[in-house]
């Protein structure tokens, strides 16, 4: 069981990483784009704008009050 949890944890850390809100925004943006296309709008601009905004907000949130950490070992990218 410990190995299964560790393996799941590895994939979560690898794919989702430090900020889970990015994953949520991506899912919402993809679903909304799909709905817009189904409704007849060629909403090619929606995904780039949503993703750009998600990245910007995530970086700005990380900036709030976090001093640079010392060099340390990290297993994730």
């Amino acid at each position: 069981m410990r190995h299964v949890v560790g393996f799941a944890r590895f994939w979560y850390d690898f794919v989702v990483g430090d900020d889970w809100t990015i994953a949520v925004v991506v899912i919402l943006a993809v679903v909304l784009t799909d709905l817009l296309v189904r409704a007849g709008y060629n909403a090619w601009y929606f995904l780039p704008v949503a993703i750009g905004a998600a990245l910007t907000l995530s970086v700005l949130r990380a900036e709030e009050g976090r001093p640079p950490p010392p060099a340390s070992r990290e297993s994730q990218p």
């Binding site: 690898f14 989702v16 991506v26 993809v30 784009t33 296309v37 970086v59 640079p68 070992r73 990218p77």
Partner: protein, 253 residues
């Protein structure tokens, strides 16, 4: 192959090559530290076992994904790639902007070296299990990350062989470099590579998710280029912003 297809293929190869190089440099650091300290036999057995396990994972996952409809694949895998690419890019931006420590292969090598020296020797069937386990785990986990990248970006474009070629090229280049210097590749500009890969994976992810949702991109495949330019511009802008606010900023991607 059309110009559009060539651009896409070139970017696919570059993304697979760069991303795989970064992961392989990390695996090489672990393997070198244990091999130098405790001998190479058990380490090489661990590397071989991990390679076989990885080949089995790819042999199962690759063809299975190839049977899915392309639009569903692009939507699902593109979304996964987008989440992964974004968090990779975010981390590279924070590192370049001085908000996160840079990945230090030399420090990791020193830590691994110390741990390998201090660990007790337990031999079973002529294999030092510490060396085997550390080498297997390092190569398997970093290799899984490479496999994820190759299978996702390759299958989204129905061209896993080209992505695999990028990964194999990276293996050869990193392997030769590691063999020559016999030390961790600490001078590899790892964050710059991660930054570039993050921009590529995010742009690919946006493009494929859009295609999977049925979007008609202006300029078809060539839309990838302005997408790349926009993501690169935004990312560099964020690094510059952090550089102004954080006194310890590294200053470059």
């Amino acid at each position: 192959m059309s110009d559009n297809g060539s651009v896409r293929s070139l970017l696919l190869f570059a993304a697979a090559f760069l991303a795989s190089s970064v992961e392989m440099v990390e695996a090489l650091t672990i393997v070198l530290a244990v091999g130098v300290t405790r001998g190479w036999r058990s380490v090489l057995i661990g590397v071989a076992a991990a390679t076989v396990a990885l080949a089995a994972v790819i042999a199962v996952a690759g063809p299975a994904l190839g049977h899915l409809p392309i639009d569903a694949l692009r939507l699902g895998i593109g979304g996964l790639l987008l989440v992964f690419g974004l968090q990779w890019l975010r981390k590279a931006i924070l590192r370049a902007g001085g908000l996160k420590a840079l990945h230090d292969e030399q420090a990791i090598f020193t830590t691994e070296l110390t741990q390998a020296r201090d660990a007790p020797t337990i031999e079973k069937a002529g294999v030092d299990w510490y060396s085997f386990t550390v080498a297997f785990k390092g190569v398997f986990l970093e290799g899984l990350e490479v496999a994820f990248i190759v299978v996702t970006i390759g299958s989204s474009q129905h061209n896993v062989p080209l992505a695999a070629l990028g990964a194999v090229s990276a293996l050869i280049v990193v392997g030769i470099a590691g063999f020559k210097v016999h030390a961790p590749l600490s001078r590899v500009p790892e964050n710059t590579m991660k930054f570039a890969v993050g921009v590529m994976l995010t742009s690919f992810g946006i493009f494929w998710c859009g295609e999977g949702a049925g979007v008609a991109w202006p300029g078809a495949d060539l839309a990838l280029l302005p997408l790349l330019a926009a993501m690169l511009g935004l990312s560099l802008g964020l690094v510059a912003h952090l550089g102004r606010r954080v006194p310890h900023a590294v200053g470059s991607a």
